[in-house]
Symmetry: C2
Subunit: 279 residues, 2 copies
């Protein structure tokens, strides 16, 4: 397939490489050295050549700008083209973007699994859109990831991703409070973590991020700065929905403190350090 | 062995039954019909006959009263007897109780795994005390549970149990916020839960309690009223340790709201309902 790929950062670059390896013809913006494909000078140019346009950008305004800004996708795209936004952005804005791209099909398909998942093509992919459009895109998703779910209509993929980030962020915070409690009360957090793995407290977070807290090694992984953005999406949507998310709000505040401490580029498990520093 | 067993409630009864089945001679207070053993009229009487005294009581004051109150364990116990407190109580009070029981060995050994774990002898047991005393008690623990860990010195078992209850309570709250968010934003929480199970959000809580939230069936399980008590232990100890546990505190407040709503006897997964009701 002829694929326009917009957004070649930490995640987009290995994803585009996997698509190229599978034999797809790529139109890249902005292209990176070492990536196979045509390097374009604008998102419009990448879209003009493509049957499918994939976006992988940091935040809602970046996607809006790439789609509808000057020399954006909307200026170059042909009717009938499929647009797949794999960025993690606002569910509400997603619905609006899909409507504005008249004549095109649209899927929101944010991912979970990080840089390693992107490289190894083991990403979890959470999709919103029409079932027949999802079926068309499925072979592409299978080149990029493993757990691929059509959650519901347009925006539902982004909604599920926000839900994922709530669970992950708040579980990390829970493990941090628990291990810090153990430590301050005089128990060895490594022994406590190990003992807790056998019961209801078991989670991938306790296993992986709990280990990072015990070792006090906080290389990312997933950065606190980016996780704060995801919880901001939750908080903003919660206000629109008249919904109380007390621990999401408190955890985002703690991420603000972490960033103020200069820890924004550390792995989110470094919230342990933030709690320790702010008694 | 001759075992005094004090506290034959929902947990203590099946635990005592497992000890009797393994061939131990039990001195029960307060005995229940159908349980094999000698039914005693006081904790002192149960202790007087025993090489090991096991306590399984609801809260710190109950243990204090059973040990040191009128006709309590301390009045009947012989020097050299091993006291094992399997209740979930304050780590600080535990250290004090162990010191007051001069001439006796003491282990704190709270459990996790609930009524089903007690019946099936699959409890997780978190132990604090001296290694040689732990070794003496280990065959008894193996009659009652499966994951048995000596965490550290006296009180460390209780500390680990509090840490466990922090992780469990806050992870349930996290899953409740996430699934409620999904639902209010128009996605199917059952589909979202299933999709999230494949990634970093995976936990036994998402699996088990997430399912209860999706089905809206909140039969206990573990009651909100009891979990509030466990988080109260955390909050009290945190004040003694000058430690900030923001999400533990917020979750305990939510449990207060659940109890005010008349949901105290429901499973802790019913926090989903509380969040839904209090926008």
């Amino acid at each position: 397939m002829r694929i326009g790929f917009v957004g070649l950062g930490v995640m987009g670059t290995p994803m585009a490489a996997n698509l190229a390896k599978a034999g797809h013809e790529l139109f890249l913006y902005r292209g990176r050295e070492g990536l196979d494909g045509t390097h374009c000078t604008s998102a419009a140019e990448a879209a003009a050549e493509a049957e499918v346009v994939i976006l992988m950008l940091p935040d809602t305004p970046d996607v809006e700008n790439a789609l509808f800004g000057p020399e954006g996708v909307a200026e170059g795209i042909k009717p009938g083209t499929l647009v797949i936004d794999m960025s993690s952005i606002s569910p509400t804005a997603t619905k609006e973007f899909a409507q504005r791209l008249k004549g095109c099909d649209y899927l929101d398909a944010p991912v979970s699994g990080g840089e390693v998942g992107a490289q190894q093509a083991t990403l979890t992919i959470l999709v919103g859109g029409e079932p027949d459009v999802f079926d068309r895109a499925k072979p592409l998703f299978e080149t990029l990831g493993k757990n691929i779910t059509l959650i519901g209509g347009t925006g539902a993929g982004q909604t599920a991703k926000v839900a994922n980030q709530i669970v992950v962020g708040l579980t990390i915070e829970a493990v941090a409070e628990a291990l810090l409690f153990a430590e301050k009360a005089g128990a060895d957090p490594a022994v406590v973590r190990e003992a807790l793995m056998g019961g209801f407290a078991q989670s991938r977070i306790l296993e992986l991020h709990g280990e990072r807290m015990v070792q006090q090694t906080f290389d990312p992984g997933f950065r606190i700065r980016l996780h704060r953005k995801d919880l901001a999406l939750a908080i903003r949507a919660a206000a629109e929905l008249d919904l109380a998310l007390p621990n999401t709000a408190a955890t985002q505040q703690l991420m603000n403190a972490a960033i103020a401490d200069g820890d924004g580029e550390l792995d989110h498990s470094a919230l342990y350090r933030t709690l320790r520093r702010h008694p």
